[in-house]
Symmetry: C2
Subunit: 225 residues, 2 copies
């Protein structure tokens, strides 16, 4: 079982850096959201739709992981929010050191109060790499099929919130929303679940409200009241 | 760069087992097809649709990788083709040893002449793990977006054939088939590309013909003619 031992070594090293990040976030009052999904589930479209409202309230930085291309950072930048692309080459996930290196380079990172990480599109590996985040948000889209939470339980178990996206495609795909919710709750009964269409905007007001509540709660807790 | 060194060690060990598998396949005249895609791109539906015709010609075994559940093996078994589920737990890909262990356990594996591996749904890691296969077939579905070949070039570069699936959803999603083809050919100009709807059956006759030509070519080459 050599492979598992090697992975444990990688994860232990990652956890150390994640702990450093967590201290930095706490000290500077930064809420960190880590967004996970398969490729093409709608992570970037979600950001394009919610950032215009959220940037009025928070000082936001978005970090985006992809093997190649800067497509997503370019799309997100158009909202007026600073977005930095991290190209991982062959790596299937963002690691804590990727985040650490960016924050080290950005001089004014302590002024941010909301850091959003759009992870590499992959329903498996990113769930195992702690980035020191406050919340993991998982996106599953309707064309992927309603059994995905059962087939990829690691990401569901690690997440605080699940967005079932692309509900505008429900008439054309074989997807039962209630089945998906049942599978997801079967893995993680504490999940907060939203159904959205990031294309039409359906359901996004509730997502923004939920995120705002969580960011403000952390700031309030940190302020000592 | 410890991580890359560790991964190289894992891959080198995998390559050794893959070489053993390749010898076994050659000796027994087995063509091996390794199918890769994101979660929910349509790998299992593709098999459900093409196996009823292909089982009339070949003695087929299907191995299916998923972290959890036996859903897909159950679906494929209904076609009358033997399907074995491999649950990888937390692992994001099938490794050569997974295939080796199954073939060792199945007494009559030498009677198979077509082994189809449906890999874990993941557009990154499975591309790096050699299973001794003759062909890698990559499935990308239209709801994922036409830029996926550019963002996930490793899988495109490693594959022999690309199926652009779910063309029945083209009226409802933001996907330009020609853009996707251009991105894919930009990474790997030797790719054979098909557009299909595994739901309606569109384009599948050409896929079956292509697979049959390749399987028969290997058998012919091996026969010494």
């Amino acid at each position: 079982m050599e492979k598992i031992l090697l992975n444990e070594k990688i994860l232990a090293k990652n956890d150390l850096i994640a702990e450093e990040l967590r201290s930095f976030y706490k000290k500077n009052g930064i809420f960190v959201l880590n967004i996970l999904s398969s490729p093409g589930s709608g992570k970037t479209t979600l950001l394009e739709k919610i950032l215009p409202q959220m940037k009025e309230i928070y000082n936001i930085l978005v970090l985006i992981g992809d093997l190649q291309t800067t497509n997503d950072a370019e799309r997100v930048s158009k909202t007026g929010v600073k977005a930095v692309q991290i190209n991982t080459g062959q790596a299937c996930h963002l690691a804590a050191k990727n985040i650490y290196n960016i924050l080290k380079d950005i001089g004014d990172s302590s002024k941010i109060n909301l850091l959003i990480v759009e992870n590499v599109g992959n329903l498996v590996c990113p769930a195992s790499f702690d980035l020191g985040e406050d919340m993991k948000l998982l996106v599953i889209s309707t064309p992927e099929g309603d059994d995905k939470p059962a087939k990829y339980p690691t990401a569901v178990d690690a997440s605080d919130c699940l967005i079932i996206n692309k509900v505008d495609l429900l008439p054309y795909v074989n997807f039962n929303v209630q089945n998906c919710i049942n599978y997801a709750k079967g893995v993680n009964k504490n999940l907060t679940i939203f159904t959205t269409s990031c294309y039409t905007g359906e359901g996004l007001i509730d997502v923004i409200k939920f995120l705002k509540n969580n960011v403000d709660k952390k700031n309030h807790d940190n302020s000592g009241y």
